[in-house]
Amino acid sequence: MQIGVFKTVVSHEFTLEFRHRFAFAAQILYVAAVTFIFYLSFSEPEPLVWNSLFWMVMLFSGLQSGTFAFSREFGRSHLFYFQLIDPLVLFFAKIISVWTRLLLLGFTAWFLITVILGDPVVDKPLFALTIILGSLGLATLFSFLSAISMNTSNNGLLLAVLSFPVLLPVLLSVIRLSFISMSDIPVAYSDSITVLLAVIMLLIGLGIFLFPTLWKN
Amino acid sequence: MIFSLHLFSIYLVLVLTSMPLDDFMRSTGKIWVVVISLVIIFIGIVFFLYKLENRISKIEKEIKDE
């Protein structure tokens, strides 16, 4: 039964997502604009610049998507949800919808940046894996933190303050991984993947434990 | 008494030799780095307790005002 509910909630999330597709288009436009500005100032960036550009874009899009996912139905439907659904189901549905969105955005951004600035990535499967894991990490983190900051009055500012320090473990290992995928020399990267996975598991575990408490408010 | 004499002698050494602070910190096996660390911790805790006392005074005042 739970799975049935879960499916319904997820499909509901996707419908909403689709209805708000202008927001997604706006984010793509944002990626294109930032990339073009970089193109004007660097024309042929080093992997270092490329990497920071890519993850900067992902970071801000993730922040936006995370806030959006919760603020969208704050209000009447929020109460409705609270009565009907197990908070955990909602939590996972949110994560999945934000994750999908970030994945779409990540690969589109990769494509866009490649077209405009060129592609320094050597190990493409590894970079794809990094995008998948990294966006999962960002999605979990922002879903969880926006649930916290939703409880306060000025949640946009607070979300930024709360999330940036905690982002560091995720971002550091992600940037390390994408660097490895851009170097010609093969480097062992299982460590970074383990750390990234561990942080994601930690965040999800925390979510399972703490999200119901937050939702009660 | 002995301690203050000691402090005075440090002052004298610094003034008479006009030794830069950096060299002073590195003298005697850099022991002054440890002393500074202890002083920082001490001052930090005292400052914290001072703030706490202010808070308690405020509460006392609230009680008296009733």
Binding site: N151, S153, A198, L210 | E62
Partner: protein, 354 residues
């Protein structure tokens, strides 16, 4: 007697801290070599090497033996030694014309052994430049192996070259971080109890423990910066562990921001408790996992074994663990004061509303 049952940990804190400060400051360092006055020599040269020592009494015996050491097999014994004063020695070597390896330079450690002071090492003290076309022959380098080193145990802290006396900071800087983590752990435990029971007593506990934990963290950063200035060269050297501990502090400062941005009540209690647990768990990878993967100046990084082993010998352990416990109990004591202040304040406010 009743008071003692309630206050035992405060007495313990005082005794342990007194012990840590007195012994941590007064136990001497083992003798060691501070520096040599020549950094570069050539093959075939007659070398007079002045060696400066720390904490030695060289004038009391005259049995000092000095070696230059390339590796375990290749060493050179000084032909004569002359004691200048208690902490200075001049050793004369005649460096052979031949080189044991076909390298351009040979990195040499200086080893001094005396019955009175034990054996002392200055690693990578100098280099010997090998000229063009030097004959490769190690027979002259193997005649005087290092043997019969005197081992002397004494109640003293180890000598480390750049650290020198600052090794004592282990009892004041490091316990700040240990204490901080223990206080944050306690506050997370109280956070869990708060989430379970919804009683606001635990909120005061969480707040006071976080406050003192953050104080310890700030003191740890400050003492660490001073220590770094006189050992690594700058107050902030961009070391990964320095950066990550600053981030940990930011996470907990955000807790106070979060707490002050909400109105008091059950909702705030729950949200801040959840954030505390979250922050504590997030700080573990920051302080204990990521720094180990990156190169760092701190011990226990770049795949090295963690704190302990080489950096903490048994003499230091005897002071270090009591120091950690003492500072932690001290922190708990202070947090208890904050806690009681908060509770009293709450009592008065409740009365006012009635």
């Amino acid at each position: 007697m009743n008071g003692f049952k309630k206050n035992w940990y405060k007495y313990l804190a005082v005794v342990l801290l007194l012990y840590a400060i007195v012994f941590g400051m007064l136990v001497p360092l083992r003798p060691g070599i501070m520096k040599v006055d020549t950094f570069r020599a050539e093959l075939g040269q007659d070398l007079t090497l002045g060696i400066d020592f720390y904490n030695t009494r060289l004038t009391e015996t005259t049995d000092q033996r000095v070696w230059l050491r390339i590796d375990n097999q290749h060493t050179l014994l000084a032909e004569n030694t002359e004691v200048v004063h208690d902490r200075k020695l001049i050793a004369g070597f005649s460096i052979p014309e031949t080189t044991p390896f076909s390298k351009k330079t040979l990195s040499v450690s200086v080893i001094v052994d005396s019955k009175m002071e034990g054996s002392m090492v200055l690693p990578d003290a100098m280099v010997i430049v090998v000229g063009e076309g030097a004959e490769i022959n190690d027979s002259q380098w193997t005649q005087s192996p290092i043997e019969q080193l005197s081992m002397r145990w004494r109640y003293a802290f180890p000598w480390r070259n750049i650290l020198e006396e600052t090794i004592r900071n282990t009892y004041f800087h490091v316990p700040m971080w240990f204490g901080m983590m223990i206080l944050f752990l306690l506050s997370s435990v109280n956070g869990i109890r708060l989430v379970r029971s919804d009683r606001s007593v635990f909120e005061s506990r969480v707040f006071s423990l976080n406050l003192v934990g953050t104080l310890f963290g700030i003191l740890g950063i400050l003492t660490g910066a001073v220590w770094a200035k006189y050992t690594w060269g700058t107050f902030w050297s961009g070391d990964i562990k320095q950066d990550m501990s600053a981030v940990t502090l930011l996470i907990f400062l955000a807790y106070f921001l979060l707490r002050s941005s909400m109105t008091p009540g059950k909702k705030r209690n729950r949200v801040t408790a959840v954030y505390t647990i979250f922050a504590f768990l997030a700080s573990i990878p920051l302080l204990y996992i990521i720094p180990r993967m990156e190169p760092s100046l701190h011990p226990g990084s770049g795949g090295n074994p963690g704190f302990g082993g080489e950096d903490l010998d048994n003499t230091m352990r005897m002071v270090f663990y009591p120091a950690v416990l003492g500072w932690t109990l001290m922190g708990y004591w202070i947090s208890n004061l904050v806690f009681r202040t908060l509770e009293v304040h709450k009592l008065i406010e409740d009365k006012n509303y009635d």
